[in-house]
């Protein structure tokens, strides 16, 4: 049962090149990525359930900007740049919190509604704009940031004209799973948080993506994962294929650190999805793993050319979290995988500056799809040569 269950084309056997080392170290390239990738695309910013009540807010770094995600009194989630329009003070300095009715700048008390409009300022009645008119509560309101909710997360986009969420985000999941209905069956938006772990990784964000995309390393660094998913020993990642789920080993009862039984399968999934592991990369910064009884949801926050914060949520059916059942055996499996992967990324970062990596390394056949990621990145950056 360890063979892929869909037919893949035979991989071309030749080694193909990677990006050159400077793509992982050059601060100027990182700035270009912030501009052309993280500030231009949909960016998964926060879990909506963390912002349940009106006035709840969360502060998130997106590219070079501090963004506030806020629950309005009308129940809607909105996002704004976290900066006062008066003299530029940061509106909220706490990572998250709760206000009553307004967002008030603690410097000069300019006050904004939860919808972003300027509602008050000292001596506001006397203020005039450059034409002599009363100041406009929207023009001097908080700078809005586009926001969409999907899979229980708030995705934001700093672009003036955001790309299609359907094409870029939902489309990329469909493309991986091969069926638009496949992701819906997990009803991710109804799941609840069982555990969250945050990792501070001393590596470029692309090393983390590349690592997540391939399984040529699985046999070497992931003994526990390979035990549960025996086909991974062959080195082909689930996402090498379209619609492929890696099958659990015959003796494996659940996706846990020791292969012991997990929880009941999520009620909506198909028979075909049971006892399978799916992995999806939503560019530029989200990884999703689907297993029958839970979902693992990673978001990367690139901080500099050589540092990336990764936040990982383990999501379970509400009755599992409500009953207080012990999730630690399933958390432990992918937490260990994360640590093994991030260790590998951290040992790769320092050598990216070597003259031996000036033109990069090589991708073996099982990694060839990473080459497509590199091509995509170069196109976004406007580069025409590696």
């Amino acid at each position: 049962m360890s063979a892929p269950d869909v037919q893949a084309p035979a991989p071309a056997p030749a080694l193909i090149p990677t990006l050159g080392g400077r793509y992982y170290t050059d601060p100027d390239i990182f700035v270009s990525e912030q501009e052309n990738v993280f500030e231009a695309m949909w960016f998964c910013a926060a879990r909506t359930a963390d912002l349940a009540d009106a006035g709840a807010f969360k502060k998130v770094t997106v590219g070079r900007e501090s963004v506030l995600v806020v629950r309005g009194r009308d129940g809607a989630l909105r996002a704004f740049l976290n900066i006062c329009r008066h003299r530029g003070a940061m509106l909220c300095t706490e990572d998250e919190g709760q206000v009553r009715r307004n967002l008030q700048c603690p410097y000069h008390a300019w006050t904004y509604g939860l919808d972003g409009k300027l509602v008050a300022a000292p001596n506001m009645a006397a203020l005039r704009d450059e034409t002599g008119a009363d100041i406009d509560r929207v023009r001097y309101g908080l700078v809005p940031v586009a926001l969409r909710e999907w899979l229980g997360y708030a995705w934001v986009c700093l672009a003036d004209e955001p790309p299609s969420f359907e094409d870029e985000v939902i489309g990329s999941v469909t493309e991986r799973l091969g069926d638009p209905a496949a992701i819906d069956r997990y009803e991710i938006g109804t799941l609840e948080l069982g555990r969250r772990i945050t990792y501070d990784v001393a590596a470029n964000w692309k090393l983390i993506i590349e690592n997540f995309m391939e399984c040529y390393h699985c046999a070497t660094i992931h003994p526990e994962l390979t035990e549960v998913l025996p086909e991974f020993a062959d080195g082909l990642a689930a996402q090498y294929f379209v619609g492929h789920g890696a099958a659990f080993g015959d003796e494996v009862e659940g996706f846990t650190i020791d292969g012991s039984g997990g929880f009941e399968a999520l009620s909506g999934i198909s028979d075909d999805q049971d006892r399978k592991y799916y992995a999806i990369t939503v560019r530029p910064q989200v990884f999703v793993n689907l297993v029958p009884d839970h979902v693992i949801f990673h978001r990367m926050y690139p901080m500099s050319a050589d540092r990336t914060i990764v936040e990982c949520d383990w999501l379970y059916a509400p009755d599992v979290t409500a009953s207080g059942r012990d999730v630690s055996r399933s958390v432990e499996l992918f937490h260990r995988v994360n640590e093994q992967d991030f260790d590998a990324c951290e040992r790769t970062q320092p050598t990216m500056s070597s003259k031996a990596y000036r033109d990069g390394g090589v991708l073996v056949p099982a990694e060839h799809h990473i080459g497509e990621f590199h091509d995509w990145l170069l196109t976004r950056l406007g580069g025409d040569a590696k």
Copy 2:
């Protein structure tokens, strides 16, 4: 009694722009400021009373230079670059200290008089300059830095041709107070140090100046100060006006944390100066507050685009310090103001890089005089556009 006691022109009501965010973050602009502001103007370097005895020295960072202020055996204060003329070792590495007769470089023992002349070096008799002459004790002496004493402080200037101290320093105080005699009545040079507090502020020096110049924030962040000076609740800073002192509240007995009585008024001040608070900015790095019974004297030491050290002295009449009377209630008032202000500056610094602040924010009418500071800075930097 809370209304301004001089007639100010009605402020224009329109919002006007500030400097763009890069002026607060760009290391190249900071270097230009070091060159064209801190190394070109008079810089308040040290309190002269800290250097009472011959041989006392203090090491101060002025722009990009380490400067030594030294008391000579003739009683005069002098300033020199803190670097040996031989191989460039730092002469004094301690922040302050006391030598007997000379400043000797601890590397090769080149030795300088307290007047900066080279007085000895190993094998000095055999040394020749490039013309074959004996080496010149002045040419190879310490590099002198211009120094003036005023208000009990040593002001230094690194420029080859220092600007007029009378015009730039004394003139700016006169311009603020509206009367050349006003500052003299406080006899600041005769006061003694009651307390010194040093603040390490994670903000650009201009945010600190701008904060000090306006009082639109007073009602929001300075409850104690506004209690003592009720007109500050209206948002107009004392230095918005010429010659204006903010009056103490009717119930207020002194400039203390709880409005309780302070000390006797300084003997020289006029009736008009009693029960008043004056604030002066001496560009680029000194703030002075005058109250009837003490003087608060701030110096800023800009360290990088996003870090500034502020040293603040509380000065009292000699009989107050000699008698050991408790100064803590008056110190506590402005110390709390400082902490409130520097917190505000620190929460403003991180957002200066936001795209929402690329062209800056806005100044309300009560802050319009900050616009003049920005124009002045741009002129000094040789920039012609914000």
Copy 3:
């Protein structure tokens, strides 16, 4: 007996200029030095006795590269860039260690023989190069680095075409000692390590070289050394001359912290070499001190424009180390000298950015040979003006 025992030409008495301050602070100049000096010349990387057994390895930073020095199963020492040819992971992250038969990348298990050849990789049989041929085990093997052994140390060179080891390394020792046989008499390769001390110095590597080259500072900062070698009080370093050894003071019994007796003189040295101290600089990063009963061997590892790691070995005759005799009195002497010197370098670094050092300082006659070092450096960097 404190006068030099060879006739030196009278030094020209004029002061001559040093390098300008930016040579000690500019990160771009440091990068140029890494490229044109440390990655272009022979670099002393490791003590061969530290790598006695097959499979022993040591990781060393040479310029901007991480280099592995490895003992092969055939007994030969080899050096390689410490980077896997597949996706660029650092092969060995530990500073030193021991493998059995191979160097295996812990990321994807590409495996290299101790001779650098690629010996295994997952699915290796299926891998093809861009021509469709089997992958070449040498082409995809570790990148070799030139290595020579001399004086018991492994010297490596990152240049594609290394310069002549005989001319550059051995030649520079001969030039200093005036006799090719002089260094051989110490039989340094047979000595054993008595003590190793590592210093982390906050100074540019050239300040350390310049300090080591001259003795004009000896009387000021090295009281213990000057006690043992009285002629150093006159300020002329041993290496000011060709073939000159500084004689021990008449009352001095050995090269120890208190002048008390050391060990038996090394068996091979000449009578002329007894009771003498010789100092050699092997550009760019090795200093050797020869005394009758031990050898002190320094290697510098420049980390940035203002930080240098110095590793210092004290080497003794095998019977001294085998017998467990106490080496602390001889270690203490030069350890103290090192600390005194590095303190001086660290107090010189911060002032290199002063405007007073823009064009540098001056060299007194006893330091004129440092000017030759500066000229040499400028030639290597391709600069034509100071």
